[in-house]
Assembly symmetry: C2
Homo-oligomer: 466 residues x 2
């Protein structure tokens, strides 16, 4: 029953193998993959998995390769299963507020397609113009709007997935509610391609809150961020975004935002509110309440952008931060830790102190409302590397001490796997592995990911003592 894969779907030239051997992270594959298979259908995915299963060949599923922790980097050779050709939006059903998509659909394309029908797909990872739904689902991606609307997991209703043995499963449903059996959708979302290959997703949509306004609060200290958020919460205001720039990143965007930033400002909080187009009165009133709340909480200045070009200028500066930081040093690493919101000040203070101690620059920005901060590490020369490692490990230890978590949206992949034990006990990791072993006993699906020591183990398993 397996379809023949067209010969042009299989790439084995060295350039292609190289191109598909890395993602947007620093993770390095220990050997090139043997082949890249650019599948075009669920049947082809199933055929690849069936053959890989029969011959015990590792398979690394890959969508756009925009991941930040090496999740799509093949760590044990074998096949890279490229899903970018499965890029069609199979349907948008406005009446039932859902869309059915293939894994290679670019997130921004889905945004535009549903918005043209008055609908809204909230998850908006920073790379939304290039990342795809398959990768978003594999990592349970977030983005600024996650504060108001939740993460990818909150929007995935049903999945079609191909298991390690090539069998095709329909899990979940088309309705928002449903408690039949175990939550296999929730288990697959965020499993980083280690439990199954997503070949179709049914995602929930909302009415598009087309009118959006942006407030910017400039504050005198990073310690003022959490109280500002508390002031909004106390007035029942639930922004869709609440983004943070620390003193370093504020300095970087100073000349790009289109308004003067006083020297005394040491951090910036960007708040967005939204509403349905014909609920403008409501939004204007909320905007005023939010502004007052921020001023009362001690903001140095509160600026309002209600026009889309003003908003776009602010956001362009925010979105470019990741790249702007990259120009400051030869090397950059970004960690997307999360702490309880009340600990935001403590986290940022720790970053400043650690940067001073290790002499590694550590600018931070991110999703303040969720306590999800992108802490960056910048360095130029190889001899700084040990201090970078020291700073990263100190950060993770501090985050766990503050009762936070290692990753808010990037996942664990290869790069954070060594640190998993900081957050999860051996017993919890063993529970997770029992699921992995139950579903993929040969360990062929995305080997070397999430669990500590897996990368070495995978190499050994599939290639002997190499």
């Amino acid at each position: 029953m397996s379809p023949r894969l067209p010969v042009e779907a299989i790439l084995t030239d060295i350039d292609s193998l190289e191109r598909y051997a890395h993602d947007a992270s620093e993770a390095v594959a220990p050997m090139p993959p043997s082949a890249v298979v650019r599948v075009a259908s669920t049947a082809e995915v199933s055929a690849v998995m069936e053959a890989a299963h029969a011959h015990r060949v590792p398979v690394t599923p890959r969508a756009a390769g925009t991941g930040r922790v090496g999740g799509a980097v093949p760590m044990a050779g074998g096949i890279v299963l490229a899903l970018e050709r499965m890029n069609s939006i199979r349907g948008i059903e406005a009446g039932d507020s859902l869309a059915v998509v293939e894994p290679g659909v670019v997130t921004g394309e889905l945004h535009r397609a549903v918005e043209s029908e008055g609908l809204f797909y909230p998850p908006d990872p920073n790379s939304w113009e290039s990342c795809t739904l398959g990768g978003n689902i594999a990592t349970n991606a977030g983005g600024p709007r996650a504060f108001g609307y939740g993460v990818t997991r909150d929007y995935v209703l049903g999945l079609e997935a191909v298991m390690a043995d090539g069998s095709v499963m329909q899990v979940g449903r088309r309705t928002r509610k449903g408690v039949t059996g175990y939550d296999l959708v929730g288990l697959l979302v965020g499993s980083e391609g280690t439990l199954g290959v997503i070949t179709e997703a049914t995602v929930r949509l909302l009415p598009n809150p087309a009118r959006v306004v942006t407030l910017v609060a400039l504050v005198a200290s990073e310690a003022d961020i959490a109280p500002s958020l508390a002031a909004l919460r106390a007035r029942g205001i639930r922004p869709r975004c609440a983004e943070l720039l620390d003193a370093h990143t504020l300095g970087l965007v100073r000349l790009k935002v289109g308004f003067a930033i006083p020297e005394s400002a040491r951090a910036l909080l960007l708040i967005e509110l939204d509403a349905a187009p014909d609920a403008s009165d409501r939004l204007d009133a909320e905007l005023e309440r939010a502004g007052n709340a921020l001023v009362d909480a001690g903001a140095l200045e509160v600026l309002v952008a209600t026009q889309s070009h003003e908003r776009e200028r602010l956001w362009a500066a925010r979105r470019e931060l990741s790249w702007a930081l990259r120009t400051l040093a030869k090397n950059k690493l970004s960690e997307d830790v999360v702490v309880p919101v009340t600990e935001l000040g403590a986290l940022l203070e720790f970053c400043t102190a650690t940067a001073e101690r290790t002499k590694i620059r550590m600018p931070a920005y991110g999703h303040a409302g969720d306590g999800n901060v992108h802490v960056n590490f910048l360095w130029d020369t190889e001899d700084e590397r040990p201090r970078v490692e020291e700073a990263i490990e100190a950060l993770f230890e501090r985050v766990i001490a503050l009762r936070g978590t290692l990753s808010g949206e990037h996942g664990i992949g290869v790069l954070k796997a060594p640190y998993l034990g900081l957050e999860q006990s051996d017993a919890v990791v063993a529970l997770e592995k029992r699921i992995k072993d139950a579903w993929d006993p040969a360990g062929i699906l995305n080997p070397g990911k999430i669990f500590p020591g897996e990368a070495t183990r995978a190499l050994h398993n599939f290639h002997g003592a190499c």
Copy 2:
């Protein structure tokens, strides 16, 4: 290390065994349990599970016993693990918008405790005055507010759970975002006590939208419900509740709602909107827009209740429906099926036709916004029972044909287990069982639940060919 269980925690008298052998459903235990253990701490739960694991004794976890599908009914004798004494709210942390609770905390008590601090825990199953958080988590409970706010799963951040072998696990986190490892919280929520015993939960809270208004739309046909909801959605209005009464149930509450219901009204849609206390302007404007939308969609009449006593009268009638229906016949069964919202009319039409064909009364009401309808079956004499079974099976088949799901909030338990195969393929069920087997190889945790044929298999496993 195991604590001695105080002798008064263990009940073996026949009255107690009988009392703990059923829940709020028709499910019947084939034999009484051997003992009821009323645990008071995680350590005691662990001790019970460790002993049960060593001696291969089945354990049925039980919170308030308000379940509707037999999830807490011991199907293979053994121990009923009663968690009702673990009923303390361990903490409410307003700054981080979370609460830490034991499984025996009554849902309504948590509501009141957090509301007194200006916070809000949305899930509100109809039995909120008696059901508990542990049961809510085991079944992933919903309620009317699920339309606006989501279900229990959307509010559980972290769990402490005791596994089949007595080991105590901390899974999940205290922050809303977090993608470290597999989503074990999501897997435990809704697993109906078959994967672990919840001993503590960290739940997310929202600011309390303390001002609430209620609209009632009377419509000429059940087919008008879905278009009315679409009209609200088209205007960007997201109610917190959208409840439905069909012609039968409307008749039952006719004299209790405090306003005249025209004879031509064949269904009722109850809409609730809410807002923060100081956002009254917004709410008044939204109320007006919602009313207009419902009138434009063809409602016969739209009534507004803005005062809490008016609202309470409406809701009391809605809440009492379940009991009011019970007075109409000797026997009542309620199935909480879900269909896509666009199929609500088709579902209700099917119920009317099936009731006519089988001569079994089938009044329906429920959570229209989520397409989650409680279809009731009323009958008096045993000779009607085969027709009830016929009607239920026809309903489930129709729901699946309409691309819905068997259960929106009650779970599968014992009563729906025979029908699981209508919705899930054998392959999907096998995937679920692989998780169950991986975590509870001896099958001692709540045996006989969810999977078809499990009740018989459990009896056989633990008691030979009895």
